[in-house]
């Protein structure tokens, strides 16, 4: 019995007609590989499980999942009323609730102010999770709900103005069947709106009880806020404004290249790899021409030229891609502007398919010096002088392994384990050995210990001396499983990295996409932020008792972690970290990609930005 040899292809398991040797017919019957798609289970805890099912639990037909679909429909009805606040009345609300409905006040009194500056005021209240009152809620029946909802709307309104539309969003993240036959849900509720002078947002966590009616429709029995945070902005516009159009000016490169989404370009270029399709293009800021102004380099997928935009004194951009010789059409993921040869100008590093391109800044043009071979599917690149010899070394992350072809989701590979994948690409560290115009770099990944746990689907890395011992350590954010924290040590005078993620208690990450360091609590120690996917469906499923009852606790934990969202790791100063994500309130960052610590309001405290969203097309129905 022989299989056709295929590398990572979905079609890898074709049986080949048996060839008769010596004229005797074959007696073997084709047997199924135990690693085929036939073995796919609905929840991805097994080999070869379909990755997209992590966000599609409805396929397994749990009652609770069918229920949450109905409950979500009801909540959407509620949401519609927020877009026309004057319709919040007993007529519209009656179909949504039971006669015996009771609710707590949705905005507490008092509502403490926890932060205030000239731009905004933050108020916050949180219930004691362990002492939730079950009855005697003060607001009763449909009029009770009208009162409760109207109180939510008040902060959005301005006296004398007609009620402004409020956008609402509901995310059901827990579902539980109660012994009484009723259902209990937890949901994140976001309300966002502006009037002529203010912009306001409310983020609540509601506990709801539902009664399922004979027609299958759930009706609300009780509603209690578990937490609410309200931020009121001092103006109706955002703190940030989009000045891209003015920065590029008219008839610019931007119009042709950047006003069309990648879906447009992917319709017309011969590159069908999944790793391209998800559209991951980096941006780099650096001063290319030493005029004191930061310029912009943008990497692009195959067929679209990379762009160098030079900042002018008035803040606008001029396209310098051709002049500087950097308008390459080859797939490029990320880049760096760094001084590799210590001559005082910014050289260019680009993670292209299969390598790191290094180009020297010659004053008016970049000249390609070398391409360092790497695993094909490169992602982020970072520079650091890991051995303190005065020269910048280069670390590049890679996602897919070469054998996977990068054609489809990794779950198409039979050996793929969603919560602990170890069949990804190998990342590389190159030691800078430039001398007298020779741009030599040596791949030292293995010799210095960075090949340990180095078959992950890596997206990003950041260097930081987290243990304050004077050398730079490395954090690597990996999709589909554990991250790496490589500690930089001197062993007998030699540099040796070791993956201390487990002992430092940082390995509890999930779908790591990006990472940055910052001292968020200002204790002088560098903490770590990692963006991860948040999935309300994953949360609902993974936290239920019937979820994979036979799976080991470790697997259950990992699956739960997989959907939980972003991670903030507090540096404890003793070489370990504490996961403070929940307490810090930063988990729900949706389908997260990029993230950065940054001080938004100059108060000295590091804030966080998370960019997100997987694939949006011009269709109408979202999944």
């Amino acid at each position: 019995m022989k299989w056709l040899i295929a590398i990572g292809s979905l079609f890898a398991v074709a049986t080949v007609a048996y060839l008769v040797i010596w004229g005797v017919p074959a007696e073997t019957t084709p047997e199924k590989s135990n690693k085929t798609f036939d073995n796919v289970v609905n929840l991805p805890t097994q080999l070869g499980a379909a990755w997209s099912d992590a966000d599609n639990p409805e396929v397994d037909g749990w009652d609770t999942e069918a229920f949450q679909g109905e409950a979500k429909t009801q909540l959407k009805q509620l949401g519609k009323l927020f877009s026309h606040p004057d319709e919040i009345d007993s007529e519209h609300l009656t179909p949504l609730l039971m006669e015996e409905f009771r609710s707590d006040r949705l905005i507490p009194d008092p509502f403490p102010v926890v932060f205030e500056n000239a731009d905004l005021v933050v108020q916050r209240w949180r219930a004691n999770e362990t002492a939730i009152p079950k009855s005697d809620l003060p607001l009763v029946g449909v009029e009770g709900l009208v009162t409760a909802l109207k109180s939510l709307v008040v902060p959005f309104q301005k006296e004398g103005e007609s009620p402004s539309s409020i956008q609402s969003e509901f995310k059901i993240y827990r579902v539980k069947s109660l012994e009484s036959g009723e259902m209990e849900t937890r949901q994140l509720v976001s309300l966002v709106g502006s009037n002529s002078v203010n912009r306001t947002e409310q983020h609540s966590d509601w506990l709801a009880r539902w009664s399922i009616q004979p027609d299958g429709k759930p009706r609300l029995v009780a509603l209690q806020p578990m937490s609410i945070e309200q931020t009121k902005g001092a103006r109706s516009t955002g703190l940030f404004t989009d000045v891209t159009a003015a920065t590029f000016g008219e008839n610019s490169t931007r119009d042709r290249q950047f006003l069309l989404g990648l879906d447009h370009w992917f319709e017309r270029v011969q590159d069908q790899r999944y790793s391209a399709f998800i559209g991951v293009s980096g941006v780099t800021v650096g001063d290319v021409n030493n005029d004191g102004l930061d310029d912009l380099y943008v990497c692009q997928e195959t067929g679209l030229p990379n762009r160098l935009f030079l900042q002018q004194a008035n803040g606008t951009l001029q396209d310098g891609s051709v002049e500087w010789g950097v308008d390459w059409l080859q797939t490029s993921r990320s880049s760096l502007l760094v001084d590799l040869d210590n001559d005082g100008d910014q050289d260019l590093v680009i993670a292209i398919m299969g390598g790191l391109l290094l180009a020297e800044n010659t004053g008016a043009r970049f000249v390609v010096k070398t391409i360092l071979p790497t695993t094909d599917d490169t992602t982020s690149v970072s520079a650091a002088d890991y051995d303190l010899d005065g020269r910048l070394d280069l670390y590049v992350c890679t996602n897919f392994s070469n054998s996977s072809l990068g054609n489809e989701l990794p779950s198409d590979s039979a050996d793929f384990v969603i919560h602990d994948a170890n069949d990804g690409g190998s990342n590389s560290l190159f030691h800078n050995e430039i001398s007298e115009g020779n741009w030599d770099f040596k791949d030292v990944t293995t010799e210095i210990g960075l090949d340990e746990n180095n078959r992950k689907y890596s997206w990003a890395a950041a260097w930081e001396d987290y243990d304050n011992d004077g050398d730079l350590d490395l954090y690597v954010a990996n999709d589909f499983g554990r991250d790496n924290l490589y500690r930089n040590d001197q062993v007998d005078g030699e540099i040796q990295f070791s993956d201390v993620a487990e002992s430092a208690e940082v390995e509890n990450a999930a779908s790591g996409m990006s990472t940055s360091f910052g001292d968020f609590n200002r204790d002088g120690l560098m903490d770590i932020f990692i963006s991860n996917m948040f999935s309300s469906a994953g949360n609902r499923i993974a936290f239920q008792e019937q979820f994979k009852p036979d799976a080991p606790a470790e697997v259950r934990d990992r699956m739960a972690r997989l959907a939980r969202g972003n991670t903030l790791l507090k540096n404890m100063g003793d070489g370990s970290f504490e996961d403070v994500s929940g307490a810090a309130g930063i988990e729900m960052g949706r389908w997260a990609w990029g993230s950065m610590f940054f001080d938004l309001d100059n108060d000295g405290w590091e804030d966080l930005m998370v960019s997100n969203g997987f694939v949006t097309t011009d269709d109408t129905g979202d999944l």
């Binding site: 000045v243 069908q272 004194a313 080859q330 269709d619």
Partner: protein, 518 residues
């Protein structure tokens, strides 16, 4: 699903979390200020880079998106009234890298009257690349809060010592040069920046496209049915360039295209192009449309080959498209495929194509890969000339043919798979798996000599290829070359002792060999 053009976790709004640490009441919990930040676009956001673009002392953001607009510069217009300093580091270029990347800078705020313990500190490290696919400005940004007094600035240079700098004052930009100890104030210079805020006009995507192929895939043969009911093989026309165009009687663009092809057929003939226009009306249930198509053919007396698409040939071209293009939406009508005289797909046209375009595109597949690559560029740009780039590009082309070969083999068409494997091997002659799979295809087609040769090639291209040794043994056995077969089976078993088939083969071959000896 997404490939077919549906959203998946789409229209998600970016998130911004405000650190409320300045107030102990907030208990180290961030506030969700996504909406108030104005950064909550429903874009498919990716990279984020920080820079004080307008030199006003706060951080602006460059963001890249998958969706349109794919770039945003978001200017920070916060009005919190706090102070700042911006610092640019310069290493000595000997002990410390010139950029000062990896340097840790610690600021102590507050005046001398405060106890050391109650003074506020801020630390930042200059990093070369962090976040996601991004590198931020090398200007380090420090928000000072309400404080206007920077008490001390200490830089820990990587590879160098700790150094204290004097001269840093609130609301300024300073250069810190290693070894100088005194910060150098940089004047902002003559900058008048008036970047007005404006929504970006998002352009609508379109499916209509001309796609010149960089890698040329051999098109497997398929059949269509003439309006006279006669079945024809597409590749019977091979030897000349073929334009296969799919049309429907209900599509006005198709009719216009067919008219142009008819009127200017002489030009196509002169250029040697065969046109095969296939109606997809047969695939619909609408009897009326089928009749309409028949009437169109009858009335217009098209000078080129017309026929009815079979479900197979229509599906085949969709598959050929999907194999190479990331978005797998159903092909629009009309859609055309230009196949060169060697049977390789040269250009895909989604939407109408003109005679002029076809004639222009005829030389496309004759150029070398670099020429095709530049011709296929979506916007003008340059080719990165380097052997490593060529190597990666070749690998991509090889995989395309190889994968398609496997698919065809899977579909039970070793005859078609064989062509793909040969294409792959032409580009990468030492591709062991392709040799092996070619051997399998040949074996199925009873081309035993070819199979034997392919398996042998596989064993030679890849040391330790157990399956290939076994398969080669089987071929040798079939040829009654028993001693050689035994040798191959032994290798296979040595490489993979658990391979029961190879063990069995070895036993049988040894028995036969012994029987022969007697």
């Amino acid at each position: 699903m997404m490939r077919e053009g549906r959203s998946f976790s789409g229209r998600e709004k970016n998130c911004v979390f405000l650190n409320t640490g300045a107030n102990p009441l907030a208990q180290a919990r961030f506030a969700d200020v996504s909406s108030i930040s104005g950064l909550d676009f429903p874009d498919d956001g990716r990279a984020v880079a920080l820079v004080d673009w307008d030199h006003d002392g706060d951080l602006d953001l460059w963001i890249s998106n998958r969706s349109s607009p794919r770039l945003r510069l978001m200017r920070n217009d916060n009005d919190a009234g706090n102070h700042y300093v911006m610092l640019r580091l310069e290493g000595d270029g000997a002990k410390t890298n010139k950029d000062g990347i990896g340097a840790r800078v610690e600021l102590e705020l507050g005046d001398d009257t405060l106890e050391a313990a109650s003074r506020v500190r801020s630390v930042r490290t200059l990093r070369g690349g962090e976040g996601f696919l991004s590198q931020s400005s090398k200007w380090l940004h420090f928000g000072l809060g309400p404080s206007q007094k920077v008490r001390s600035v200490v830089v820990r240079w990587p590879g160098g010592a700790e150094e204290t700098f004097t001269g840093v004052e609130a609301d300024g930009r300073f250069r810190l040069i290693q070894g100088q100890g005194v910060a150098e104030r940089l004047s902002i210079g003559n900058r008048t920046i008036s970047l007005t805020s404006q929504d970006q006009a998002v352009a609508k995507p379109t499916q209509i496209a001309r796609i010149p192929m960089v890698d040329l895939l051999s098109v497997p043969d398929n059949a269509f049915v003439g309006f006279d009911g006669r079945k024809q093989q597409l590749m019977d026309l091979k030897g000349r360039p073929i334009l296969v165009t799919f049309w429907s009687s209900t599509c006005p663009h198709c009719q216009a295209e067919l008219e142009e092809l008819t009127e200017r057929y002489a030009e196509l003939q002169a250029a040697g192009v065969e046109v095969v226009a296939l109606s997809i009306d047969e695939l619909s249930d609408e009897k009326e449309n089928k009749e309409k198509a028949r009437m169109m053919v009858k009335e217009n007396r098209y000078p080129f080959t017309v026929g009815k698409a079979t479900p197979q040939i229509a599906a085949a071209f969709q598959v050929i498209h999907n194999l190479q293009i990331a978005i797998h939406r159903q092909l629009p009508l009309p859609s055309s495929f230009l196949i060169d005289e060697y049977g390789r797909l040269a250009v895909i046209y989604k939407g109408p194509v003109t005679v002029e375009q076809v004639v222009d595109d005829l030389p496309h597949s004759q150029g070398d890969r670099k020429q095709r690559f530049l011709a296929a560029a979506l916007l003008p740009g340059s080719n990165l000339d380097h052997p490593r780039v060529d190597e990666i590009a070749t690998k991509k082309a090889v995989r395309l043919s190889y994968r398609f070969g496997n698919d065809l083999q899977q579909a039970g068409r070793p005859d078609l798979a064989l062509v793909q494997y040969l294409d792959a091997l032409r580009l990468k002659p030492d591709f062991a798996e392709a040799h092996y799979n070619l051997g399998v295809a040949c074996r199925e087609m009873n081309l035993l000599d070819k199979a034997l040769e392919s398996f042998r090639n596989a064993t030679e291209c890849q040391v330790g290829f157990a399956e290939a040794h076994n398969a080669l043994g089987e071929m040798l056995g079939a040829k009654r070359r028993l001693p050689e077969a035994v040798e191959q089976f032994k290798k296979a078993v040595a490489l993979n002792p658990e391979d029961e088939v190879a063990q069995d083969n070895l036993k049988k071959a040894q028995i036969l060999l012994r029987q022969q000896g007697q």
